[in-house]
Amino acid sequence: MIKAKQKPIAEIKTLIAPYRNILILGCGTCVTISFAGGEKEVGMLASSLRIAAAMDKNAQLFTEATVQRQCEWEFIDAIADQIQKADAVISLACGIGVQALAERYPDKVILPGVNTTFLGMAIEHGVMVERCRACGDCILGLTGGVCPIARCAKNLLNGPCGGSQRGKCEVNPETDCAWQLIYDRLGKLGQLDRLSSLMTYKDWSKDYDGGPRKIVREDLKL
């Protein structure tokens, strides 16, 4: 899922400073699961901002709402009234939700309340890690199911760099070295010989280097 982190309150205050009626809009999917922008976080942010407004003696008014998914038209259409009434919307969805709102409500100020951080999972409660960079040409079948694009700091394709030590990455001793993981996995699968063949230049045009990507499925179009 998409993982996000709430922006610092000071930054949010600066973003909303010019506006009076502010809608805080959460999203019920990825950001709920990453504890960054679900109903609960909307409530907590609203209370903090109300207290801050009272202390600063400004007259900002906050309303709260959460939709199932901000990245689908039908859900954001359903709260058109509330959005229209606000001077600005602070969205706690990922960047996709923020942009969906901006596209659907062209004359409304839409502000991001979270930093969309990565595609990943919680490996334990409260610990979320990156797993995929959506490179557009998945090679997990060659690397024992461990992604060197998202999980190696230099996205190497031909084995570990000279800084891999005791299983950890040179860039961050808290992070596993992706190539140590690949080595261990391929060993268990009896496929270590894979590491001897050269993996050639990656086609980055399928990644964001090819410009914004689009999938069109004629068979699904109505």
Partner: protein, 308 residues
Amino acid sequence: MKVSSNLERILTSGQFAATGELGPPKSAEAEVIHRKAALLKGYVDAVNITDNQTAIVRMSSISVATMLLGIGIEPTIQMTCRDRNRLAIQADLLGASALGIKNLLCLTGDHQKFGNHPTARGVYDLDSIQLVAMVKALRDEKKFANGEAIDTVEPRFFIGAAENPFADPFDYRPYRLAKKVAAGADFVQTQLIYNVPKFKEFMKRVVDLGVHEKCSILAGVGPIKSIGMARYMQNSVPGMDVPEDIIARLKGVPKEQVRKEGIKQCADIIREMREIPGVHGVHVMAIEWEEAVAEILELSGLLPRPRV
């Protein structure tokens, strides 16, 4: 012979090679390069010019190499994948070859996080092994990375790669070296060696794979200036292995003699390297201590350098 550089000729003639290293300045000052170069001239077979070493912006490797050519020192340029994509690398290599540079060391590069522009975007379009393969295709197949033919003159380099025998997984390192050689590496320069027994074990495996017959392996060595530097390398440089006995030896002499002892210790390690099967030379890294190189090589019996 592929390019007939001095380094290639020495290695092909079967003699034990000695290369040095020069770190370009963090400025546009030419004077300092001449000063450092004078300390190396005649004592080594070729001089590596680092490429934004440790991800710190410095004068470019190719421009410093060109200055060395002008004063009669054979340069080995370094090229990292961190700062350039395949277009920029190929363009620079066309130019470097046209300028008369013949040796090239292909590296992934230290991560930008460690340098002085930690917020920069790292490129890593290629990795170091793909870079080796690309340079070989430019030279031997006269082909760019996209397969397009080079119509007239192709860039020709004696292709180098690096390997760190002390990084993990240790068991994979000899195979990774073999992979680099299969991709086209003509010579290899290793990470600084202080743990000699571990390096011997690594070399034994390399020799078992027959890799030493397909490429020349230069063992990386360097003098330690102070106990502080030794501790720093031991604890804070990723992939470095500095055993306690190395530090103990330096601690065993009075403080004002540590430098001298560091030089002797380096020469002793070189002597050991000369005895290890499959080692074809040493690469002496004495960054910001270039004056130590001549003394180290003298003590290890590698001077004068052969003329071939």
